[in-house]
Symmetry: none
Subunit: 312 residues, 2 copies
Amino acid sequence: MLERIHLAIIQAVDKHGSLTAAAKHLHLTQSALSHAIRKLEEQAGTQIWFREGRSLRPTQSGHYVLGLAKRVLPQLTLAEERLGQFARGERGTLRIGMECHPCYQWLLKVVDPYLARWPDVDVDVKQRFQFGGIGALFAHEIDLLVTPDPLYKPGLRFEPVFDYEQVLVVNRRHRLSDATYVTPEELTNEILITYPVDVERLDVYALFLMPAGIAPRRHKTIETTDIMLQMVSSGRGVAALPRWLVEEYAAKLDLVPVRLGRRGIAKQIFVGAREADAGIDYVKAFVVQAREAQTREPAPKKTRRRSDPTAR
Amino acid sequence: MLERIHLAIIQAVDKHGSLTAAAKHLHLTQSALSHAIRKLEEQAGTQIWFREGRSLRPTQSGHYVLGLAKRVLPQLTLAEERLGQFARGERGTLRIGMECHPCYQWLLKVVDPYLARWPDVDVDVKQRFQFGGIGALFAHEIDLLVTPDPLYKPGLRFEPVFDYEQVLVVNRRHRLSDATYVTPEELTNEILITYPVDVERLDVYALFLMPAGIAPRRHKTIETTDIMLQMVSSGRGVAALPRWLVEEYAAKLDLVPVRLGRRGIAKQIFVGAREADAGIDYVKAFVVQAREAQTREPAPKKTRRRSDPTAR
DNA sequence: ACCTATCCATGAGCTTTGCTCATAGGTTCG
DNA sequence: CGAACCTATGAGCAAAGCTCATGGATAGGT
């Protein structure tokens, strides 16, 4: 009935003053426009223009449709532009999922320059998933997964983007603050503060305490990194966090990082994506950005494999 | 490029769940829709749906176009209706939005003589808006907005049409029924009945109780004015309503209006319209009618500014 | 594990739409 | 009064759009 072409004709006639001029701008003949509007008028049963001599003056209906055209046509052309941007991978929403608490701090640093470089891409960060991060990736709930535990399944691609060392945090007055490293046994009389997640997913437990069959004196959980480190700073306990994160807070709080075990705990953050999305520019770009961010961060003690998708 | 049919297809698939079902509702074959969307996808260079098994899940592009469709299609169908009305010599439909509960009672009084004077204009009243009354005006969802809270934005014009006093309603046996006015403190032991909206939007709270830092003993909410006043009449609580409304019900129910505070709460109802519609006679006429209705109502104690669009 | 119902994709063919061309009829200037 | 503009209209043709027929795939029931 009322099609886009009608709106376009009515708007063009309003803008250029005559059917003939409008036809030129729409790359059609004057005849085509005349026929088109005439058909519309017949269907609607109302005139669009008063034909006065050789000029056209809009009727009430004409004015009404003209108003509609001015509202609707820009939206349609904008939509087409946007579709083009979607097609070229210039626009979209990047939904990032996170499975580790301290990843958040790191992510903030990556997102900032990314947003600057991709002004038409929105970033959304989710932290809770019904069927785990991998499930969220498969269900298209998220587009990227930031995790320390990659899982190489067909259809997914993980890439390490950041190496760091997990260390113990104590305050300066703590008896362990001068140690080169700490043994599991030395934590038996400590209060250990962690994020509130399963102990299997806490590296201090999984890679340090549990292999030695040792538990700390007490185990407290705290949601936020800031409060956790303030607790440590005031001597209420010790915590385990990435070294770079500790060093960042060390300027403001009284904190000292201590290596966990003689050889330390080496960790990596991975970014996973669906293979089907491998061609999308702004997805690829995020991974590159994430990898580059590492070099500008306080470097971890030893450089390890930088990128080896087949690892594990 | 992006034609009305595409929007219709995408919306119909969203609504009915499948291409086949959508085809039925659009009176086309499944094949036609499939071809149409495929062509759109080719031209735009981006998918509209992920084809997963035998179901379709919208891509980002798809979601975007779906949103566009939901905004644009109603306007097109409305426009066609309007053209039909113009064709039949009717003037159109005046769609009035309302943002205040008691406005409704007042509106009924205005609409009645308006319909009599404009037999060719239909009136439609809406009360719920996705993005608030102002948004509904801009989106052409309504043509007039009746509200106690005008907002002077470019493109809109508000005009005060009715002054009234907000009073407390109690029944005759109530201990406050003889008072010249009531203080906030005197409500601390009362049960206050209001419409179920945010307290910030209730004048008793925003202009009377909250400035004094006082809350009533209990706060009940009731949807309809009739029931609310029956509750008050039977001594179940007190309410705050326009004086003229109370006086109207006083004939049937045992109700007494009492001034809120020494100076009373003065309110105004405004009617807002798009400036673009300023030339439409039946829109103008409604505002005039609304203003005139006031003089025939029980006059408020003090006459205030009658019309001053620059007010506030 | 099959079978059936249901879904979407696709190619061929036909109908209809919509465009252009050619031309006629008016109006506005100089 | 005629030249230079308009718009309207009919005929014919090309292209767009629809249907039909069919095939492949999947979900759900038995």
